[in-house]
Structures are given as C-alpha cells and as structure tokens.
C-alpha cells in the first residue's frame, strides 16, 4: 500500500464532511475490494475514511410496507441470514450468501459492493432486477440510473450511499455461474417479477457491467414461464471474452442461467 492518512468516523455526516475536505479520499466500508486493490498498489487514496465505527448507525434491515430497506453498512452475512429478507425476497438472501466466502461475507457490505459496481459483483444484478432505489446523503437514485459502466456509478465525489430500498417482488431468483478461479460471477442472472413487470439483470458478462436483458424480459412479461424463453438467445455482442469464457459461451450461459432462474422463481 501507499501511504494515506486514516480517519475514523462514527457518523455519515462526519464522513461526508471529511470527504469534502479530502479530494482523493476513499470511504472504507467492508474493504473487500478496496484493500486488496490498495495492497496491489493499484489504488492510492490520499485518505481513508473508515465507516466501520459508524456501522451500527448505517446498518440494519427492516421491512417498510412492500419494501425491504437495507442500510449501506449491512454485511453480506447479515443479509443472507436475515429472516426478514429470507421471507420477503429469498432470492436476495440467496445472492448475499453466494458472495465471496464466509469470511468475506462477514466483512463485505451492500453499500460498498453497490458503490464499487464491479462488473462481476453479484449485488448490482439484484439492485437492477428488483428495481431498487439507492439512497445517498444527497438524494435517491433509481437503479436504472445508478449503474454507469465498469466501476462507474451515478455517485458524485464525496457522495455516500446510506441505504438501499428493494421493492418486494412476487417472484424472483438469482442463478450464478461462478468464475472457476475467482468465484466472482462469470454470468449471474437475476430475474424478478413484480406486478406485470419482469426484469432480468445480468452481471459478470457484460463488458460495460451489469445490464438488463430486454429480450428475455419481453418474453417473460408475456408469460413468466421457462417455456417463454424457447428460442430466446442472448447476443454475444458486448460481452466479455477472457480465458475462462469467451463471449459466445457467456451468451449461452445467460440463456441457461436465465431459464434456471425462472424455474427456481417458479418453485421448480
């Protein structure tokens, strides 16, 4: 790591104040991506604003009406094991339980994952497919407006996610095909149906990060059944190619994972 100055804060307000004064500062939440990146000397923030002392204020899970509200500093482990989430959106609990490994889930946070928008991270697919709303210290941002490409989001410098609100779907499921080596999503497909709307979000595959698979959405909106997907194929255009999967294989897997997700959502 390169040198940085370290700031411990016990509230979001203090964090934001500090961020305003330190241009190259980074918020430290779970640190599961930031710290390895810094260790490799691929990131050199001038200051670290450690949100962990504020975790109690920024974490928590509750149901408000037909939505689940998850505080930004809520750890993956707590989402995966939350009775509230398991009852209301089991697909979201499943997804949280598939991130990293148990030790990573004990530290990593939903806010950190969503703010980082790693193209192979799991959470962005849930945020997008469930049409969640991202709340920051300044405003609320609809999922469709939040993700802007590889590691890019609508967040402005110094803006901090405080919570994410997930409307409860009638049906949802997440299927993940992990990269054999890193176990990040090589292809992850989150399908969700709420009212008449079906949303299908794909992570891990797109060269521009998480995206909605509109062809699949259209087919499933007509009828939310795996048979609706017969003949529906993802295009390889714009998908990643690497040693683990070329674009054609990723496109194929989007179809397979989507079908399996629909079956799972339908209880099959």
């Amino acid at each position: 790591m390169y040198q940085f100055t370290y700031h411990r804060v016990d509230s979001a307000r203090k964090a934001i104040n500090l961020a305003e004064k330190n241009e190259d500062a980074k918020f430290l939440a779970g640190g599961m991506t930031l710290l390895p990146t810094m260790k490799q000397r691929l990131a050199s923030p001038s200051a670290i604003i450690d949100l962990n002392p504020a975790a109690d204020k920024l974490a928590g899970i509750e149901q408000r009406g037909r939505a689940i509200v998850i505080g930004a500093m809520t750890r993956h482990y707590d989402v995966a094991n939350s009775k509230i989430v398991q009852d209301a959106i089991p697909a979201l609990a499943d997804l949280a339980g598939m991130i990293g490994d148990p030790a990573v889930r004990h530290r990593g946070t939903i806010g950190g994952s969503v703010a980082n928008n790693d193209p192979a991270a799991d959470y962005p697919s849930a945020v997008l497919a469930l049409n969640a709303t991202v709340f920051t210290n300044k405003r609320k941002i609809a999922a469709d407006d939040f993700f802007k490409g590889l590691f890019e989001t609508a967040l402005e410098p110094g803006e901090l996610i405080t919570k994410i609100v997930f409307p409860i779907p009638s049906k949802a499921a997440y299927m993940k095909f992990p990269n054999p080596a890193s176990r990040y999503a090589m292809v992850g497909v989150f399908v969700a149906r709420r009212g008449k709307e079906v949303r299908v979000a794909v992570t891990g595959a797109g060269s521009n990060g998480v995206f909605r698979a509109s062809k699949f959405e259209a087919a499933l909106t007509a009828k939310f059944h795996v048979k609706s997907l017969e003949g529906v194929n993802a295009s390889a255009d714009g998908l990643n190619s690497d040693i683990h999967a070329d674009a054609a294989y990723r496109a194929h897997l989007i179809g397979v994972m989507c079908r399996r997700a629909v079956n799972k959502a339908n209880g099959k």
């Binding site: 390895p36 148990p102 030790a103």
Partner: protein, 156 residues
C-alpha cells in the same frame, strides 16, 4: 503513527502503527503471533483467518486501525487452559494437515462453520463452507472428515 488498542486472545494490547498495517501484520510483526499465516495477496487462501468479535475474517484484508476495541482470537488463543480445542484435536486425529501452513486458518474457519451451522454437518455443506480456504497438500478429504468430527465433538 496512530494508536490502536484491541483485545487479542484475551489480553489487552495496544501499539502505534503505520496506518497501512493490516491486522495480520499487526499480529505477526507487532505481537509476534506467527501462527496466523499469509498465503496470498488477493484475499483467497484463508491462511490468515482469525475471529473478530466471534466471526471468522481474513486478517489480510482488514486494517488494524479498523479494529479499535475489537476482540480478536487467533489460533494461538484457541486452546484453553492447556487443553486443545476439539477442532484442533479433530484435525490431528483425522490427519487433516500435512505441511501445516493452511492449518491455522483452516481450523479457525472450521470453528466458525460450526458456530454458524451447528454440530451436524454433511460433506457437501463442509466443502461449500470451506470455499475461502485453500489447502495444497491434503486434497481436502481428511479436512472434511475432521470438520465433521470436530463439529460433533464441539457439542460435548
């Protein structure tokens, strides 16, 4: 240099550290608790797993300063009153280690699995839960056996 204080294996410790100091460096270099190992630099191998406030974490991926006031248990703190922890016994009894390098992290993870999943663990669960710990020697066969046996013994 900023100061950090925490409890490690039941003892209060504090030191002034470079802000860059990871928990594993604090344990190994400042406290000379060298049982916690470093096997990679990408948070995957799990050789560095310790418990923080009762939960398994990778000590290579957390700043020592973040853990102000935390309660840390390392492999050196697992045996109590000179008596091995049942999971340690199970690893020896089932020949679940060869070179021993991954073993401290493997044992700390295994205890955490039992804490979360209970004392009756099937093979598939154990293999899945060990996702964050690499072993190059054993092919995992005996580790899986040891975790199951250790889990049962922990109920007693």
């Amino acid at each position: 240099m900023p100061k950090v204080s925490m409890t490690v294996n039941g003892k209060a410790v504090s030191a002034n550290v470079d802000a860059r100091t990871l928990l594993v460096q604090f344990l190994r270099e400042d406290l000379r608790l060298t049982g916690t190992h470093v096997g990679c630099d990408t948070s995957q191998c799990g050789c560095c797993v310790v418990h923080v406030d009762g939960k398994a974490i990778k000590s290579c991926t957390v700043l020592a300063l973040t853990l102000e006031g935390a309660n840390v248990t390392t492999i050196e703190g697992l045996a109590q009153d000179g008596k091995l922890h049942p999971m340690q016994e199970a690893f020896r009894e089932n020949h679940a280690l060869q070179c021993g390098f991954c073993t401290p992290g493997m044992i700390m993870t295994s205890v955490d699995i039992v804490n979360r999943k209970g004392n009756t663990l099937d093979e598939q669960t154990i293999r899945h839960e060990l996702e964050g710990n690499l072993c190059r020697c054993t092919g995992y066969h005996n580790i899986v056996k040891a975790v199951a046996a250790g889990a049962e013994a922990m109920a007693k």
